[in-house]
Symmetry: C2
């Protein structure tokens, strides 16, 4: 059953396109509209079944929407929200899917036109691929979606955004933007940074024998550098803090090797193994 | 067509069991014999189709073998080779599958009984699982197998070991044991160590939201600590050198973040991405 009359997705790339497909597959909105900078992307999104209507006209795209989802790069969210809020109907809700939340939420919550509320959101899904060509309705299956709340958050708008994501993901978690950024630095930005560093630290010849452990650890180094310099710099403080936490373990592990301490090394490995076993692979 | 009359596999765990299954599936040996410490494992290996005959009797297992493959833990290889060489027929070849090679090859090449040659080998396949229950004939499909050669290496025996692995893997690469250890430290031991450190560096709550990038980067932290303290300590110098190489990139990346240098950061990410794109995912 349709939960929304019209959902408009701004930015028809991997995440925006997949969201459109997922919403349409589950009939969660009577109408899914896509706003793109280029007519060709709007057409391809329509052809792939990601939207009912694709357009390059901002006013046409958002004026009848209950919910507008900004699915462009992190640094586009604040300026786009400011521009589009003026074109939206009173009572409509703006949200995003950006990988960092503190700056976006601080820049938008309570700062838009009086009757358009902004709610930060971040579905933890994606891939090293990009663009509408890589979009698929199943992208969010099994994922967690984080929705942010602060003391300033409009509760009605928050419920709307939770209603959007709940049917699409394994779990919606509501938390404040600072915790989101700290945790994401640890579980996502850090593994990405490690992947980039691992690639750079390898001798040329050794690449030819890279086994699955290396391929798995570096797969995300294929991610789009245009997105990732943005994410890492926007979340700079939290990423640096996560790096420091990692370094403490790294330094301890090196000391165990240097001192040839098999018992302490085994304790360390065993504890890490126990922690990893608690995680469900997907 | 059978390339060997009898291949004996010593240690019927994940690697030994899978090797038996792969040899039998492709009929590369007239007879595959398995030697295990326990009768129950020998029986299970037989029941799973990993061996034609499973036994706990070393003499019975190896006396008629053309080729004996030591598939136990790294630190068992040298003592087992010394014990079993005495029971083998003249002209037979001993080899192993251990994850580090320099110490093993130095300890065995030219040091066994005059008419039994030792060749170091290492199929780069495995999983975080262990034991005969996890064995499967496809384990080596698409993998690289490294076979070691030094000036002391018996060339006829080397050819035999290459003949064993060639039909089972994507590619057999012959190199000296020191290079093997240096490259493996970089492409395998380092990602494992990083996975263990990543698990330990995470706040408790953040584990619940771990996305695919984190799960992929830490999957190998489920690996057996009994194997891994051994591998890391046996290959200690090369692992420490690989850690230092990684640290140089890590420190450079941190500096780019601290100095908020988007252009240099993007150059760094873009270069790493280009390197990763050259690797074939499997």
């Amino acid at each position: 059953m349709a939960r929304f009359n019209q959902v408009t997705i701004v930015g028809l790339g991997l995440i925006g396109g997949s969201l459109g497909m997922a919403l349409r597959r589950r009939r969660l909105a009577r109408r899914v509209v896509g706003l793109s900078r280029t007519a060709s992307t709007a057409r391809r999104a329509k052809a792939r079944g990601a939207v009912d209507l694709g357009t390059t006209d901002p006013a046409r795209a958002v004026r009848d929407a209950d919910l507008v989802v900004l699915a462009g790069p992190v640094d586009s969210v604040v300026p786009q929200a400011r521009r589009l809020a003026r074109l939206m109907r009173p009572g409509a809700v703006l949200t995003d899917v950006g990988s960092t939340k503190r700056r976006i939420v601080a820049g938008l919550e309570g700062a838009l036109l009086r009757r358009v509320a902004f709610i930060g959101a971040h579905p933890l899904a994606g891939s090293e691929q990009r663009g509408i060509a890589a979009a698929r309705a199943e992208l969010f299956d099994g994922a967690v979606c984080i929705v942010t709340a602060t003391p300033k958050t409009d509760r009605r708008a928050l419920r709307q955004v939770v209603r959007l994501w709940k049917p699409l993901v394994r779990r919606v978690v509501v938390m404040d933007p600072a915790r989101h950024d700290r945790w994401l630095a640890a579980v996502s930005h850090l593994p990405h940074l490690i992947a980039f560093c691992l690639m750079e630290s390898l001798e040329d010849g050794a690449r030819a024998i890279a086994p699955r452990s290396f391929l798995d650890a570096t797969r995300v180094a294929k991610s789009d550098p245009d997105l990732w310099d943005d994410i890492l710099l926007t979340n700079r403080e939290a990423v640096l803090a996560a790096m420091s936490r990692f370094e403490r373990r790294w330094t301890a592990a090196r000391r165990l090797l240097q001192r040839r301490n098999p018992r302490a090394l085994q304790r360390f490995l065993r504890h890490a193994q126990a922690l990893r076993r608690q995680l469900q692979d997907r």
